[in-house]
């Protein structure tokens, strides 16, 4: 056994033990969480998404040119690891190398590795250039990133030099298959080192290479580079349907004493995997409407702070002393951070490793609201109204059907059962009480009649779906409303529902299932689009105008409905559709989601004003919306910019109603 073998085994043994212990701690921390584990369902889909995004680097490549750089480094590392393994093996036993695969194959192997080593070096230099010279907004200075890049770059240099010295000393037959290393070898030859010197230098760079790798392995557990181990599993375990968000709480379970997340350990182990997977790339932050308008909330900072909270509480967690574990809202994470979120999920769409930021915020809200009764003061009235009047506004429940006066709209009570109608029209609170939105409902009713659709409403039997309550964190109030609605809907044997409000649409479609309410739910944009396709609606009137469509978060990112609203607009003669800079799944939230419609916005710039500015930039004279809250927000925005005389905010139903007879 040579001294190198001895030294390597000793050092490697130490390095792997060290990092092994650290990984064990990380794993232990993960296990000591109370929250519900995610379901391991739909395995084929999971395998597919893992292949596409991990091997295929699909999500990473949504942003360029950094996506390309990362792909090179990712694939490069996998390939050159073959060389690293070979290096370690041959250090232990000199004859252990991969040349047994045959010269031709080996030459190809080293050619590929030589290429990727160089490519990685170039990519690292590119990454450094981006961080130091370009300095993208929001990226910030990351000591961790600089250490990792330095490690990587030096490692590549070490490999190339090691290869070069090897070529000079041993003149292997495959030298020409390693163009870069070979060229370096040529330069080295120029120095005319003696055989001994050459061997020493080769050994030196070989050791530098191996020590860097071993050192790196010790560094990884405490660095964001941990993502190389966590991101793959995190992708595999991601929530496949973004819309199916909040877990129901079983209030009949008397053993439950904690509702929502107060401490970091109230989350699940999957949440921990999220923190481990975060590379602090900042893509989530780039699209966050709260962060971009000066609020305290940055999704990136939230994940970093949650990870930091986990590590702060490490000893308490590992020793099982749950009373000593500090709260999530620990000063780094403030109540301002928790309340600023609009649940738009742009952060989740942007994240290349599929971190689920929003649910952590909403679980924390549940604790704040239901356990500590800590929430923005103005929200208390909203809760009381929903409890007493079944609507967030203080209008009498008995007035809920007044909007339909004179329209000859039947109620389910009159029809008797859902068999008597094609579809139930779910009006929602805005449609029932907001004067502006009542017009939208009237337009939609007019369209349904034009298309000879048999429909009915629940009228005064309809209660608020409870979306606002759930998003603000009052799960108890939400379930009270949901169970009442489900009882009514099931009593009439309702099968198909159409609604003009994306919040109602989302919750009826995706979240009522957990409480016994299974219905086929469509948004009115989808329904109108279908009526056009089936020839039941023939838009004929020319509404010559430039129109831009504001994607509602609960339609678009939450439920992937992007095309049908646009199809409706494009079907109207004369409407010229222009897209805002941020559209489809990059669309900017209007600011009303996540229950924020009911809260005061006192920090930074108004979200709705920023979005309105984006809409006005298109030069459109009509801003088309498909949601009562978006409509309110955009309307307020247009008025605030004093453009109400030249720009109108209209719902799709209103435009279609104008275009049809």
């Amino acid at each position: 056994m040579t001294w190198q073998t001895f030294a390597f085994v000793l050092i490697a043994g130490f390095a792997f033990s060290y990092s092994g212990l650290k990984f064990k701690t990380l794993f232990e921390l993960m296990r000591k969480h109370q929250g519900t584990s995610p379901k391991l369902d739909r395995i084929p889909e999971r395998i597919q998404t893992a292949i596409a995004n991990v091997l295929g680097q699909s999500a990473v490549n949504r942003k360029q040119p950094i996506g390309l750089l990362h792909t090179v480094i990712f694939w490069g590392f996998i390939i050159i690891s073959i060389g690293t393994v070979e290096q370690f093996a041959s250090t232990i036993h000199s004859a252990a190398n991969f040349e047994f695969i045959g010269l031709g194959n080996y030459a190809l192997l080293v050619r590929i590795q030589d290429f990727f080593t160089t490519a990685i070096l170039v990519a690292v230099l590119g990454a450094f250039y981006r961080r130091i010279v370009v300095q993208p907004a929001g990226l910030g200075v990351s000591k961790d990133a600089n250490v990792v890049l330095t490690f990587t770059g030096t490692l590549m240099v070490a490999i190339l030099l090691m290869n070069a010295f090897f070529i000079v000393g041993h003149n292997p037959p495959y030298a020409a298959s390693m163009p870069v290393s070979n060229a370096l070898a040529g330069v080295i030859r120029g120095y005319g080192f003696s055989q001994t010197t050459n061997q020493v230098l080769f050994t030196a760079w070989k050791w530098i290479h191996m020590l860097l790798v071993l050192g790196f392995s010790m560094y990884i557990p405490s660095s964001k580079h941990l993502h190389i181990l966590a991101a793959g599993p995190n992708t595999f375990l991601r929530k496949l349907d973004r819309a199916k968000a909040m877990r129901p709480i079983d209030f009949t379970n008397e053993s439950l004493t904690q509702y929502g997340a107060a401490k970091i350990t109230d989350f699940s182990w999957k949440d921990t995997l999220d923190y481990y997977s975060c590379t602090e790339c900042g893509r989530c932050q780039d699209l966050c409407p709260a962060w971009n308008t000066g609020k305290e909330l940055s999704p990136k900072k939230l994940i970093v702070d949650l990870k930091s909270n986990l590590y702060q509480n490490k000893s308490a967690i590992l020793s099982g002393k749950s009373e000593e574990v500090g709260p999530i809202v620990d000063g780094k994470i403030t109540e301002g951070v928790i309340w600023a979120c609009t649940s738009c999920r742009a952060c989740e769409v942007a994240c290349p490793v599929f971190i689920e930021h929003t649910d952590k915020i909403y679980e924390t809200r549940r604790n704040l609201v239901m356990m500590e009764s800590k929430f923005p003061a103005e929200v208390q009235t909203v809760f009381k109204n929903m409890e007493t009047n079944y609507s967030p506004w203080a209008f009498a429940a008995s007035d809920r059907a007044n909007w339909a006066e004179g329209l000859e709209v039947k109620t389910m009570a009159e029809v008797g059962s859902a068999d008597g109608v094609d579809v139930l029209l779910w009006v929602g609170c805005a449609g029932s009480f907001d004067d502006r939105n009542k017009k939208v409902l009237r337009s939609f009713v007019s369209l349904l009649k034009k298309a000879s659709v048999k429909f009915a409403i629940l009228g005064t039997e309809e209660q608020c779906t409870g979306d606002a309550a759930r998003r603000i964190g009052n799960e108890y109030l939400f379930q009270t409303l949901a169970t009442a609605n489900i009882e009514t809907l099931n009593r009439y044997a309702v099968k198909k529902v159409v609604t003009a409000c994306p919040h109602c649409f989302n919750i009826l479609k995706n979240e009522y299932k957990d409480f016994g309410g299974k219905y086929e739910v469509v948004h009115h944009s989808q329904y109108i689009s279908q009526m056009i396709r089936e020839g039941k609606l023939k838009p004929a009137a020319n509404l010559s105008a430039k129109v831009t469509f504001h994607d509602s978060c609960y339609l678009g990112r939450w439920n992937n409905v992007y095309d049908q609203p646009r199809a409706v607009l494009e079907a109207v003669p004369g409407l010229q559709l222009v897209e805002m800079k941020n559209n489809h799944d990059q669309s900017m939230c209007c600011g009303a989601g996540g229950g924020r419609m009911w809260m005061e916005e006192t920090v930074g710039k108004r979200v709705n004003i920023t979005r309105t500015e984006q809409a006005l930039e298109t030069g459109a004279s009509v801003i088309a919306a498909a949601c009562p809250f978006c409509m309110t927000m955009m309307n307020d925005g247009v008025k605030a910019k004093d453009k109400q005389d030249s720009v109108k905010v209209m719902d799709l139903a209103e435009l279609m109603d104008q275009a049809t007879t």
Partner: protein
């Protein structure tokens, strides 16, 4: 013709108009009108009471009656009532009247009809009607059993008659035995702003974004001061920095239900409506004839608030003077 006892109310050496209202109503209905005047150094006020038609003014004076104290008033009035044996005892439904009248009713073991908006004298009794369920209905009050019929009357409900300098009342010194009280009124502190809180005010005048500036709210404040009203603002005006958040009326601000709400330059979007739509009488002033606020306004003025509001203030001043 009945024997009526009215409890006079005064503040800072001046009798309240509502006292004259009651005296006038009783006297013009031909009743034997007695008035109880409690306080310290208030004997001269009896003269003015006489001008409205009272027959007798019972003046009970004591240092213990200088500042209003429920126990003191109740004790003195109970004794006075036992001596006079009136058929009816009346007071105004003011912070003072509504406070002691129930206690007096208990001492005399009779019922009390509070906050009545109509009053008719019938024989030795009264017929009164009062609003219930925040004014969504009214009901007549039937008095059960025997004893004086007691009622507090809402200010301005009956209307003020004209005083007659030729009329006068007999001034009688009444006993003012106060004795030990468990409560003491130590002071009356004037408000920092004479303006009431927007949620409890009887009249609210609100301004919207159309005011275009914090300084312009002066015209709103002037109208409010003439009316003794509170000043409110729409969210747009608060956002623009014209008024502080505590003045905001609406969904996320304050919910108000005054007898009169005057909305100046407010369009009436749902968030604002949610905060004021249960006001009894709503006036809207706006340049946009199609503004949604007109849907719920009882009186709509389409015009420029910078002209209408000052004109209104002048007209209100005229009314308040008389």
């Amino acid at each position: 013709m009945a024997k009526i006892l009215i409890v006079a109310e005064h503040r800072d050496g001046k009798l309240k108009k509502s006292t004259f209202e009651l005296v006038g109503a009783s006297a013009s209905a031909g009743n034997e009108t007695h008035v109880a005047l409690l306080g310290e150094g208030v004997a001269d006020l009896a003269k003015e009471i006489g001008n409205y038609g009272a027959n007798k003014v019972h003046v009970a004076q004591s240092a213990a009656l200088k500042l209003y104290n429920a126990e003191a008033y109740t004790g003195v009035l109970a004794e006075l009532a036992k001596g006079i044996s009136p058929d009816v005892i009346l007071a105004s439904h003011t912070p003072t009247g509504r406070d002691f009248m129930p206690r007096l009713a208990r001492r005399l073991d009779v019922g009390l009809a509070s906050d009545c908006v109509t009053l008719a004298f019938e024989g030795t009794g009264i017929k009164v009607r009062r609003p219930v369920y925040s004014g969504k209905a009214t009901a007549e009050v039937e008095f059960l059993g025997s004893g004086p019929r007691m009622a507090t009357i809402r200010a301005n409900a009956l209307g003020l008659g004209k005083p007659d300098a030729g009329k006068s009342a007999e001034s009688i010194t009444a006993t003012a035995n106060v004795g030990e009280t468990k409560t003491k009124t130590t002071d009356v502190v004037k408000g920092s702003s004479a303006r009431p809180d927007v949620t409890e005010a009887a009249i609210v005048v609100s301004g919207g974004r159309a005011l275009k500036g914090a300084e312009n709210f002066k015209i709103i404040e002037e109208m409010a001061d003439v009316l003794g009203a509170a000043v409110g603002a729409s969210r747009a005006a608060v956002d623009a920095g014209y008024r502080p958040h505590r003045d905001q009326v609406g969904q996320t601000g304050k919910v108000v239900s005054p007898a009169l709400y005057i909305a100046c330059g407010i369009s009436g979007a749902i968030q604002h409506l949610a905060g004021m739509r249960t006001s009894k009488t709503i006036v809207a002033i706006n340049t946009d004839a199609e503004a949604p606020i007109y849907q719920i306004a009882d009186y709509g003025v389409v015009g420029d608030l910078f002209q209408v509001v000052p004109a209104l203030t002048d007209e209100f001043k005229k009314i308040k003077e008389h």
